[in-house]
Point group: C2
Chain length 384, copies 2
């Protein structure tokens, strides 16, 4: 894998590049649709491609549990198994395992946990996480990291960071497939000091790419962006930077302006299935009765399959009836929105107009969950 | 609408024809995918078309309740609302209303019932059933009929038949749109005598097409086919004959050989969503562990989108995970199977080889629910 930096914005840290992988070239900044279980929910690989995506994310933890890494290996690897000819990144599943509160135990050797599916007992080490991802055969794979919760205290975050470092070194040493790039994950919570230590240690090991983990877990957005900014400043310019688990339109814009090249998030597809559709003015709830008789598409400016073929009234009807086609059409729309947004972002960077693009976008785009965000922030401040 | 009879089999009553409608020509025998709520579950209209279907069924009862016939009328009619350019038949919903045991009351004027969605009170007359279907704007619409349950006694079946006749005449008198064909529905349960009366009365009113209702409701298959055979013999040769609610592969073959031209059934799509996939050898259950590592498609001879692109192992995985794409791919497969079956059936009729086609098909095709069928028959015999 190689990363070619093509252009850096003069007014912000935004950058445009190319990721060259065994399964094709990917233009950055890039958003990865989430296909944890080897499927982007409701869509075929062909549709993902047609929307404009060249790369997606799958989850080694989910696939290790079901159908099992060996099954996928026997079926010719993940690309073949799921019928996706483009680039794949597998997350190691550290985040998912550490989200299994109560079901897991951790020591320096690895993490033991009970499957969320059948309660079976498992023990994953950094070495096994790499072995699993080598079996799956993605183009980019991730180290096993320890991701502490957002309310963890400084000492706990530091211990998790140190263990993440130990495991990153072991992952690097174990990894053999030279057609895969192994990315490190910077941890350190919301402490600038720990983030600096983490970035310095991991860059000293010289990985082909760096992710920032453990952010956007409930902390105020100012904190997310400050930590992102300070961490990015410590990462090498010639390597891709990947902000894990972030993917709302407004967050992508903010993160791109701070030098992030890669994103993944289940948010666009998850909110689609709840009837929340993206427009450049913000999210709309298609179940709202104002759409009952709207003969126009949800977003008249949108050229996605859904908006080209169906009225808002029809989508409203499908959602009200709980029809399965609703989930598909909404997912198509939201992923098309994100894909178009990424194209516009990249073009703005290449034309060196990203700063004004960002201002215009954020001025028009009203996140509908502003109230929820304020109440979340309040809770967070009370806790910390 | 016009119906052109092209060929009748020399050894059976099977026939091939053409139904010419305002939204295109439909080759018969034809199977109508069921899109009760203005969507064939999981699929887009384009996919239905690509599979090979020119006609589908929607349900006036469902659409009257949600989103309301007036909404669809304002949105330019059902074709426009759901984005389907082909032919549409709407069922009046008599069957659905009479399945609401306990929630409905009937007299000669009409039927009052509570919505299965919100419990609201409604009163549907034959006149309103026609008005609703005129608003929806399908190419073929159905009279409001009374469909008694399969365990109803002779007198109850006779009363329901007489009311169906009364209502058929009123529907015919009310119907105004000359771009729609109104079909009658023959009732009479499993009584050859009542079926004869019903066929004679309804043909005397001269409808452009005749459906057979109230069959395949749990009675033994021999009874279904005897009644079908005797009823078909009383229907005019130059009008299409539609066996409502029948659509398993083996039942289609049996009914075609008895002179049926049209079918609808939710069975192929419903069983698909339960992981039961059609092959020419019978239904297979994709969740069975024998498919866990099967790199071949479910049916290696099938040229549907699903079988061309995905292994049985991948489908198995999607079903085991409860992934939404599973439902789509299985629905695509089963509807493709039925579409291909109808093409083969029609070709066999045109070549006058249908009798041997039928024998071959039924010899190879093993319905997997044979046990269930025998136990159902036992229960039915005990009751009757």
């Amino acid at each position: 894998m190689s990363f070619n930096l093509i252009k850096t914005c003069s007014a912000t840290r935004a950058r445009a590049g190319e990721l060259v992988t065994p399964h094709g070239m990917v233009r950055t900044p890039v958003f990865l649709p989430v296909g944890s279980q080897a499927t982007v929910k409701t869509l075929t690989p062909q549709e993902i491609k047609d929307i404009g995506f060249d790369m997606l994310l799958a989850n080694a933890y989910h696939l290790y549990l079901r159908p099992g890494a060996s099954v996928i290996e026997e079926m010719g690897g993940l690309h073949n198994f799921m019928g996706w000819k483009g680039t794949i990144l597998t997350d190691s599943g550290g985040y998912q395992i550490f989200s299994l509160a109560g079901l897991r135990q951790i020591n320096d050797e690895g993490v033991s946990f009970r499957s969320h599916i059948d309660g079976s007992q498992h023990f994953i080490t950094p070495e096994l996480a790499i072995k699993i991802q080598e079996s799956l055969g993605a183009d980019i794979i991730m180290v096993l990291d320890e991701c502490p919760p957002s309310d963890a205290d400084f000492n706990r975050v530091r211990r998790a960071m140190n263990r993440t470092h130990l495991w990153a070194a072991r992952c690097r040493q174990t990894h053999r497939r030279n057609d895969q790039a192994l990315f490190a994950i910077v941890q350190g919570g919301i402490s600038p000091e720990l983030r600096r230590k983490s970035a310095e240690y991991l860059t000293s090991l010289d990985f082909p790419g760096y992710a920032i983990g453990g952010l956007s877990l409930g902390e105020p957005k100012e904190v997310t962006w400050n930590i992102t900014e300070e961490t990015v400043a410590l990462l090498p310019k010639d390597k891709p930077r990947y902000l894990m688990g972030v993917g709302s339109p407004e967050d992508i814009i903010e993160a791109v302006s701070r030098g992030i090249d890669m994103f993944d998030s289940a948010l666009p597809t998850r909110v689609a299935r709840n009837g929340a559709l993206f427009t450049r003015q913000g999210r709309v709830n298609i179940e709202n009765s104002i759409y009952r008789k709207m003969a126009e598409p949800v977003d008249p400016n949108c050229i996605c399959y859904t908006c080209k073929n169906f009225s808002a009234a029809y989508l409203h009807h499908l959602f009200r009836c709980g029809e399965l086609l609703a989930l598909r059409l909404a997912t198509l729309h939201n992923l098309s929105f994100i894909s178009n947004l990424m194209s516009d972002v990249r073009e703005a960077i290449l034309n060196d107009t990203f700063a004004s693009f960002k201002d215009d976008f954020l001025k028009n785009y009203k996140p509908t969950d502003e109230k929820m965000r304020i109440s979340q922030k309040q809770k967070w401040l009370e806790r910390n």
